[in-house]
């Protein structure tokens, strides 16, 4: 089985000429930033600024200026300049986010962390200290020679940054057994809306925990101390295919009920399998209604094999057929298939509305069937995949804005979100609320809790200057942005 070779994470920071804006900045904020930080760290031309208005799902407002900080002091300077100018600040990592988090809702300052890439590994303490712009994969790459890894593994780990991962509390296939980004953060440094710097550990009030997953609305994370672990000695992989999505979900419920704790439990429906197959031709079963990919791992081979056997039996009982990955290469190819789902969908329709719901595992079969039915009835292509072991599903509505009305898309997204809420689920597993799911917040969160969230937001960002227009459905917060 063939798959493309490993990409090496590249480290920026060469002596090559860094971009610098030519000519005079065309607005006072850009001029002030250029004066205080120098032209190398500030982008002010339209061609530059227009490239910092999108993430992986959405285009937003063109920023007035973009700062590429190289250290925490630069962040402080930039935040203070934005405060003086009375404009909002949006943090940005690799802009691979799928909820519109890094796309500015209003014109303001974008702080792009891609040059803050200092990374140190402390093997004795099993820790790494990473600046916000460090690419996720490079943490594991730096740790591996010391016999350690950094487990959080979003599919975007070659591109996304630690700052963005913390901002979204990103997870990945491994989170069923090993947890999400937030579980690996021992402490962090952040800059608040006034430009003050804080160093947080996770004692007393878990303020660090509050910043994790706050999508840049409470503070700008500049550095984090991450927990590293030794990798498991053995891993075994299997692929099960099912005639129908609900059977696949049943297999998952059964497997977990037997007490197995697989490292990864991922599923993709027929449309996903076929999109990936079109791209990679890995020999996935094109006619299956859904496939399930499972890894069991650990330091004791017998247990690892035993757990795989348990999962295998559960899959058969639910009506599936099972294939074991015979070699590491075969397993790697299967996982590459899963990682490529999301972007491979672009081949079906140019745009998609990405949901990121979490439901109780017991409700899985019903939820996936209901969503399937909603999709079929709507006439829009709806595909499903996700970290099914956690009950984290990614139903995606694919559409072409020139052919399909955005109201129909939004309406369907809304109804899918309601399915999750009706079954006791939540709106976001890992991609965040951003602007995409903000309209559904009032239905998902009760008014008392929402009020508490607003209180937290106002306590840390009274003027509503940090990434306004995200998460909280509060028009007032936006009004505060222009005092």
């Amino acid at each position: 089985m063939s798959f493309s070779p490993r990409k090496t994470a590249l480290t920026p920071g060469s002596g090559a000429p860094k971009p610098r804006s030519k000519g005079t900045p065309d607005n006072p904020l850009a001029a002030e930033l250029t004066r205080s930080l120098g032209p190398r760290k500030v982008l002010s031309n339209p061609s530059e600024r227009r490239n910092y208005r999108y993430d992986a799902i959405q285009f937003g407002a063109t920023p007035l200026a973009v700062v590429l900080p190289e250290n925490t002091a630069d962040v402080v300077t930039a935040v203070r300049a934005a405060r003086a100018a009375g404009v909002p600040v949006v943090g940005r990592g690799a802009a691979s986010g799928l909820s519109g988090g890094a796309a500015p809702a209003l014109p303001g300052l974008v702080l792009s962390f891609t040059r803050m890439t200092r990374l140190e590994v402390f093997p004795q303490r099993r820790e790494a200290r990473a600046q916000a712009g460090v690419v996720t994969l490079s943490v594991t790459e730096a740790a591996r020679p010391h016999g350690l890894i950094y487990p959080p593994d979003p599919a975007s780990f070659r591109t996304s940054t630690i700052g963005g991962n913390l901002g979204e509390n990103a997870g990945g296939p491994l989170c069923f057994k090993y947890g999400v980004t937030g579980d690996y953060v021992k402490g962090l440094q952040f800059v608040d809306a006034d430009g003050d710097v804080y160093e947080l550990t996770r004692d007393a009030y878990d303020l660090a925990g509050l910043l994790i997953g706050s999508e840049g609305t409470l503070g700008l994370i500049t550095e984090a101390t991450l927990r590293l672990t030794p990798p498991p000695k053995y891993t075994r992989t299997l692929l099960a295919s099912f005639a129908e999505v609900g059977e696949c979900a049943e297999a998952v419920s059964r497997a977990i009920a037997t007490g197995a704790v697989p490292a990864k439990l991922e599923f993709m429906d027929a449309a996903c399998t076929n999109a990936v197959e079109d791209y990679l031709a890995l020999g996935l079963p094109r006619d299956a209604g859904a496939v399930l990919l499972v890894d069991t791992d650990g330091d004791d081979l017998e247990t690892v094999e035993e757990e795989r056997a348990l999962v295998e039996a559960a899959c058969r009982e639910a009506g599936g057929t099972v294939r074991r990955a015979a070699t590491d290469a075969e397993a790697a190819a299967l996982w590459q298939a899963r990682r490529s789902v999301s972007p491979a969908l672009g081949r079906i329709r140019p745009q998609r509305m990405n949901e990121d719901i979490v439901v109780p595992r017991s409700a899985l079969p019903e939820v996936v069937r209901e969503i399937r039915a909603l999709g079929d009835a709507s006439g829009l292509p709806v595909v499903q995949f996700g970290h099914i072991g956690d009950g984290n599903l990614h139903p995606n509505i694919l559409f072409d804005p020139r052919r399909e009305s955005s109201e129909a898309v939004h309406d369907l997204a809304h109804r899918i979100a309601l399915v999750a809420i009706r079954h006791g689920g939540v709106l976001s597993g890992e991609h965040g609320i951003g602007t995409m799911k903000r309209p559904f917040m009032r239905e998902a969160v009760d008014p008392v809790t929402l009020a508490a969230l607003w209180d937290v937001k106002r306590a840390l960002d009274p003027a509503g200057r940090l990434n306004p227009g995200k998460i909280l459905p509060d028009e007032d917060v936006e009004a505060h942005a222009h005092p």
Partner: protein, 425 residues
């Protein structure tokens, strides 16, 4: 990606561009693959950023002059194409865009002269040979010159070899197994005549008759990628007339850039009457390593003589072979078929060496930075030999490894095979 590109007004190339923009979901998966993003770390110098810039220029939302510096820094290495899971044909986009936008570029007279010079000299082996000889004598003056003029001189070898005659037909040795047409290439005839000589010998040894069809010329890639579309169309049609695909088992090239150029003909002629002809032609085009690996798989490749001592060969993936043509396994398999050879992988192997056609001349600083990095990565494997399948990489890697004090020979893959047949490895 959603766009308002006025496709009908732009014609068939507009369709090609709009299709690529459509296909991009701005996921950013291509960022870590891009050499300029690796060096500069900003969105405008990334594949995703460039796609957005091109989209906005085509939509009329951004003046061309604003976007141009970032688009000019693109190496055209197509590493982003390999990395993109949505199958965005970035190579087709940038090439078409350069063709479309060149007419609207404001360039200084000096810049124009330099570009015209490059386009005249590169594709004409005889002219190039003379120019190279002149350059060879100018080499000692290099330190006095501005970077833009120094770069091409730095790349010239110490001694420019004599041109070698190229027989119109090379007969097969032993039983004739096949007949192929060969594109002789341009600059490499002057700088490294042994590439072609070795190619002809290796093919003949395997029972392949090689024809150099009369009337063939430059593949047109250099013209196309610098935006000289009319000139490129002329060259493409000249070759379509010279090579009749029906007559040959394959049409071969031993220069990755040219091979990729030949395979691109259907895109160049998209929407024009000769598109079908280009398709038939492109279907026969293969890199020399693909063709020889085909023989190897069929068990028909003549065995190599063993090396005199164990040799570790660092194989460098030329972008136009690995990314543009997707040829990665074939050269490695061939090298490994030589008893005594171990192929070693180069760290950051997917990162362009910075040569990329005329990049050395147009973006000397970035090209140099990438060249230094590539040479350092290759030498970190302490190889006995360095092999690659492209003249541009060959010159770039040779000049940078020498500058880092290394004497390790840099050879074309087919030169290594040729030496193995002669028992000289």
């Amino acid at each position: 990606m959603n766009h308002d590109i006025p496709v009908p007004a732009l014609g068939p190339q507009g369709e090609v561009m709009a299709h690529a923009v459509d296909a991009c979901v701005h996921c950013g998966f291509c960022l870590p693959a891009c050499p300029t993003y690796a060096l500069l770390g900003d969105e405008m110098d990334s594949p995703r950023g460039r796609i957005v810039l091109m989209k906005e220029v085509l939509e009329g939302a951004l003046p061309l002059a604003d976007a141009a510096p970032h688009l000019d820094r693109c190496l055209g290495c197509q590493a982003c194409v390999t990395a993109c899971p949505s199958g965005v044909p970035y190579g087709e986009l940038i090439t078409s865009f350069r063709g479309w936008s060149e007419a609207q570029r404001e360039r200084s007279p000096l810049d124009r002269a330099k570009r015209a010079g490059i386009l005249k000299i590169l594709p004409a082996p005889k002219v190039f040979s003379v120019a190279a000889r002149v350059g060879q004598y100018a080499k000692p003056l290099a330190p006095l010159l501005p970077t833009a003029l120094r770069a091409p001189l730095d790349l010239l070898p110490e001694r420019v070899p004599a041109m070698q005659p190229q027989p119109p037909v090379t007969l097969a040795r032993g039983r004739r197994r096949g007949r192929v047409a060969f594109l002789a290439g341009c600059a490499q005839q002057a700088l490294t005549p042994n590439f072609n000589a070795a190619t002809l010998r290796v093919l003949a040894r395997n029972g392949i008759e090689v024809v150099l069809p009369e009337g063939q010329g430059c593949c047109g890639a250099a013209a196309l990628h610098t935006g000289a579309r009319e000139e490129a169309l002329r060259l493409v049609r000249q070759n379509l007339a010279a090579f009749d695909p029906e007559q040959y088992d394959a049409i071969l090239s031993n220069a990755a850039g040219c091979g990729a150029g030949l395979k691109e003909y259907p895109v160049v002629l998209h929407g024009l009457p000769d598109e079908e002809q280009a398709r038939a032609f492109a279907a026969k085009v293969q890199d020399i390593s693909e063709f020889l690996a085909g023989l190897l798989h069929a068990g028909e490749l003549e065995p190599f003589l063993p090396t005199s001592r164990p040799l570790s060969v660092a194989y460098h993936d030329a972008c136009h072979l690995a990314h543009a043509q997707g040829v990665r396994a074939a050269p490695r398999e061939l090298l490994r078929a030589i008893p005594g050879v171990t192929v070693v992988e180069v760290p950051e192997g997917d990162l362009c060496c910075g040569s990329a056609g005329t990049y050395n001349l147009e973006q000397p600083e970035l090209a140099n930075e990438l060249g230094v990095r590539k040479a350092r990565n290759i030498l970190s494997t302490t190889p006995d030999l360095i092999a690659s399948g492209n003249i541009g990489c060959h010159t770039q890697i040779g000049s940078h490894t020498r500058r880092q004090g290394s004497r390790v020979p840099v050879l074309h893959t087919v030169e290594v095979l040729d030496l193995a047949y002669r028992g000289e490895l």
